[in-house]
């Protein structure tokens, strides 16, 4: 048998989770206070897990690198959270959410995990409402829904454009309650530096107090990693500046497999790059594609004139515009899934039609003019004016847009200093979410016993492409409704273990090696800053392991990243000392891990000789430029085993994916 045992329960798909729960071992309430659990990360997945485990009576220690658990980047999610409630009576069901997620993921996710996610989705909404999360409501007082890409029903619950914020603050409030009751001890401004294994089991972590620099040993009977995704390997992404892979990578280095690292979601609608000092990219919600039309000039000379500032987009005649999504995908138009929309924009810009005056000319228009006129006419009719003037329609149309998208338009104007009511928005795809992550079995346990991984940090639910509004669902499902059961099953064998001591050679070894790596990087006295290397890594990743990948580019990337890794370790300069708040040191330690991960992503992308979801290999496309999957040879999860900092040495293990309940088919959005 493969080293990868997914532990998927037997039986019909709809009964697997229920049966599994009914047969798992429990830990009696009087035994729980004898058991310690560490949770790393306080986003939706971590805060919900820490709160739930605290409520159950375990001793929980929670860690976050920010100044407060409320800052975790789940807070920035805009659009919403999916749940199969069928409140709109439009034919939704657990099965349909399950099916949409598997299809959206281009048939590279595990059926049983996704079905469980759909099953508990309704409970999430119930739980959040009970906590006082202020979801959007209709005038009758009931919850409102909207629709998102890749679905034909309205199942997305939301709180204006701040759904992530409201859900995270809900989980944070539950966590705060447990901290106040003394059941969770919170370590903010702390970063996990290593996992400690004793007799093969996860038994604790080494953490660095980011204010004092102290290296601390924390023991526990189980460790939960909920540290988010690794989009910052591209330097520029919609992730927060501090988002990093280090906690997940340390676990990987200690023996946990890392699955499908090349599966990255590149979101089509973000504000384009403006210059070399830019630090991050900002998302413009997917909901804008309901009203905006995406286009570039048909003629390259028009595009060049726009970039040179000689032409304005509003001066381009209708016939000279190429609404390329409507042209290529008439059935879905501007509402194709994220991976498809992103690739189409790149294709146009690569062909010389990009409109942004930046280094790469990468940018396309998202134009609201058509919608403004049509909604303006509608509003005028509603007011009894059946022959409105152009000005009237403009005025009323802009008002309609403002009500619907006002905050996004304002955010756009702040960043770009352009008024999107008058001129089309400029947008371009940007790295947003990572579907890959630490390999976990059905119980969310990694290949290290006692080390569980939840939320974006694991790989399990989204296959090769995540649908909009599903990340929030997965984070909370894992933390509230899955992990509390599965971790208890594991911990039922720990009730006789007694307190884990940090006085052991394993803890000493881990702490010493952390101190040594910090000492090494501080005494390096190189010539370049951390950001210098991070930006170079990002450029390699974006150009060669980004939206379009090919064998030649990936091989180059693997080599270039290998050289970059050596140069980084020989030539990075980090000022200051280890015994103080040292933000450059924090960055350096994170970038060291991102470099190793970046190389593994390229290695993974090279072995996956097919195109699926967000992973597009130029060599594997059909006559119309669409992804060409190879189910015969690549219907598996690629799980990599660490073999040293040179990721080309990593060994590949395969978990075959079985589709027993959904018929595998080609995705078609034409």
């Amino acid at each position: 048998m493969s080293v990868l045992d997914s532990k998927i329960p037997t039986g019909p798909i709809a009964e697997k989770w229920t049966n599994h729960k009914n047969h798992m071992n429990l830990v009696a309430p009087n035994n729980r206070p004898k058991i310690d659990v560490i949770v790393v990360g306080t986003g939706l997945a971590g805060a919900s897990a820490a709160a739930s485990l605290g409520e159950m009576g375990y001793n929980v220690k929670a860690f976050c690198f920010q100044d407060s658990p409320r800052r975790a980047h789940s807070i920035a999610a805009q659009g919403g959270i999916n749940a199969a409630k069928n409140y709109q009576n439009d034919g939704d069901s657990v099965y349909r959410l399950f099916y949409d997620t598997i299809k959206g993921g281009d048939y590279r996710a595990r059926e049983a995990n996704v079905h469980r996610l759909a099953e508990v989705s309704g409970n999430i909404i119930d739980q959040c409402v009970a906590q006082g999360v202020p979801f959007a409501r209709e005038y009758g007082g009931l919850l409102d829904n909207r629709s998102f890409g890749g679905t034909q029903v309205q199942r997305t619950f939301y709180a204006a454009g701040q759904t992530g914020q409201q859900l995270l603050l809900g989980a944070y409030s539950a966590l705060s309650r447990q901290i106040g009751l003394g059941r969770v001890k919170m370590y903010h401004r702390h970063e996990m530096m290593d996992l400690v294994k004793i007799d093969g089991k996860a038994r604790g972590i080494i953490a660095r107090n980011l204010v004092t620099g102290e290296i601390e040993k924390h023991a526990a009977h189980a460790v939960v990693i909920a540290s988010g995704g690794y989009g910052n390997v591209y330097f520029l992404s919609t992730n927060a500046m501090g988002s990093n892979v280090s906690a997940a990578w340390k676990v990987h280095k200690r023996g946990a497999m890392f699955a499908n690292p090349c599966f990255v979601q590149i979101h089509p609608t973000c504000v384009p790059v403006h210059g070399t000092n830019q630090s991050k990219l900002t998302l413009m919600s997917e909901s804008l594609r309901n009203s905006g039309r995406i286009w570039v000039p048909k003629k390259k000379e028009d595009a060049a004139a726009i970039r040179a500032g000689q032409l304005k987009p509003t001066q381009i005649a209708e016939d000279d515009r190429d609404y390329f999504l409507e042209r290529r995908y008439p059935a879905f138009g501007n509402l194709v899934p994220r991976d498809v929309a992103s690739r189409a924009a790149k294709e146009r810009c690569d062909a010389g039609h990009g409109i942004e005056a930046n280094d790469t000319n990468e940018g396309v228009y998202l134009d609201f003019a058509t919608e403004i006129l049509s909604k303006g006419r509608q509003s005028a009719y509603a007011l009894g004016d059946h022959n409105p003037t152009e000005e009237k329609m403009q005025e009323l149309g802009k008002k309609w847009i403002e009500e619907k998208y006002g905050n996004l338009f304002q955010m756009y104007q702040k960043i770009t200093d352009e008024n999107p009511y008058e001129t089309p928005m400029k947008i371009y795809p940007a790295v947003h979410y990572t579907m890959g992550g630490v390999w976990v079995d059905y119980n969310l346990q990694s290949t290290i016993p006692g080390c569980f991984v939840t939320g974006e940090a694991n790989f399990s639910d989204h296959g090769a492409n995540r649908l909009g509004a599903s990340a929030l669902m997965q984070g909370l499902a894992d933390g509230y409704f899955v992990l509390p059961y599965t971790i208890s099953d594991y911990l039922s064998n720990e009730i006789r273990t007694g307190k884990i001591s940090t006085e052991s050679p394993e803890f000493d070894e881990a702490a010493e090696s952390v101190k040594a790596s910090i000492e090494k990087i501080l005494s390096n006295n190189g010539t370049h800053t951390v950001d210098h290397f991070h930006k170079r890594l990002g450029l390699i990743m974006w150009n060669k392991v980004g939206m379009g990948r090919n064998e030649k580019g990936l091989k180059e990337a693997i080599e270039e990243i290998g050289l970059l890794r050596e140069e980084f370790h020989n030539n990075v300069y980090v000022p200051g000392t280890a015994e103080e708040l040292n933000q450059e040191l924090e960055k350096a330690l994170r970038v060291a891990d991102l470099i190793e991960l970046g190389q593994l992503m390229a290695v993974d992308a090279l072995q996956r000789k097919e195109s699926c979801g967000g992973h597009f290999r130029d060599e594997y496309q059909d006559a119309e430029g669409e992804t060409l999957r190879d189910d015969e040879n690549f219907k598996f999860v690629a799980a990599w085993e660490y073999q040293g900092s040179d990721s080309t040495k990593s060994t590949l293990h395969k978990e075959d994916l079985k589709y027993e309940f959904i018929k595998i088919a080609a995705r078609n959005y034409k």
Binding site: D67, S68, A130, A136, Y139, G141, G180, M241, G309, T529
Partner: protein, 255 residues
């Protein structure tokens, strides 16, 4: 509008740690793109300082899209700088002119001790939240169906507006009394407006206000600076609502 470059002078508060004295230091920074955000300008300064073998300026930041609440900074005497309704991370350098001198200081409040340079310790906010900023409901798969509790849209919208607080602390930093009542009022209001929050309303407001006082925050004297400087436009009404809740709790309290 096309980006241009400006040259600026920065006066930045430098302080090694909580136990040492700090001072304003002067730095020149050239060729700052007006398209850069304020924090990108500080990144640029730090690159320059590191390349000159000097210690970079420590400042808090994370999401850089105005929602996590981690960034702070007192810029030219105003919390989050000259633009209203904007966090520092969303403030852009086009708000400044070539040749400007810009003063950058940390939040100033007794309850927010300085950690280093521009970084302060806002964990007092967390402790106030832990004292009562929640509904006591455990995780379970069996809470009642979300739609079995209809809530008037108006109440839900008002609760949402209060809940939009990002916990950055600009209200405290702007207040001459160092009061946290806008922050606490927003949290108390969110729950006071919703039926889920009614059961524990009395204990919540008493506990949160007690903790707020213990942390050393001042009292509200209705100046309204907090509302003006709040990047999320949290209304003063929330303070009034908290005061009503507090009075009500005091009248019925047996504790």
């Amino acid at each position: 509008m096309a980006a241009k470059s400006i040259n600026i002078t920065l006066k930045i508060w430098r302080q090694k740690n909580a136990n040492t004295k700090g001072a304003l230091e002067t730095y020149s920074l050239n060729e700052v793109s007006t398209d850069s955000s304020f924090l990108e300008m500080l990144d640029q300064l730090n690159e320059q300082l590191i390349n000159d073998r000097k210690e970079p300026v420590a400042f808090d930041h994370d999401c850089r899209e105005g929602i996590c609440g981690m960034c702070s900074l007192y810029i030219n005497g105003r919390a989050h700088g000259p633009e209203t309704g904007t966090t520092t991370c969303q403030l852009h350098m086009r708000m400044f002119s070539d040749g400007d001198t810009i003063y950058v200081e940390p939040w100033r409040s007794r309850a927010f001790p300085i950690v280093k340079d521009l970084v302060v310790d806002r964990s007092a906010f967390d402790r106030i939240q832990q004292a009562g900023g929640f509904v006591s409901v455990n995780t379970s798969g069996n809470t009642m169906d979300a739609n079995s509790l209809p809530i008037p849209k108006d109440d839900a919208d008002k609760a949402f507006e209060a809940a939009a607080c990002i916990g950055c602390g600009a209200c405290v930093a702007s207040c001459k009394n160092g009061s946290a009542m806008l922050f606490v009022g927003a949290k108390v209001s969110q729950y006071a407006l919703l039926p889920q929050g009614k059961v524990e309303a009395r204990d919540r407001v008493l506990n949160m206000v007690r903790q707020m006082d213990e942390e050393g925050f001042g009292n509200c004297t209705n100046t309204g600076a907090c509302e003006i400087e709040c990047p999320k436009g949290i209304s003063l009404e929330n303070i009034a609502r908290m005061n009503r809740e507090f009075l009500k709790a005091g009248l019925s309290s047996e504790k």
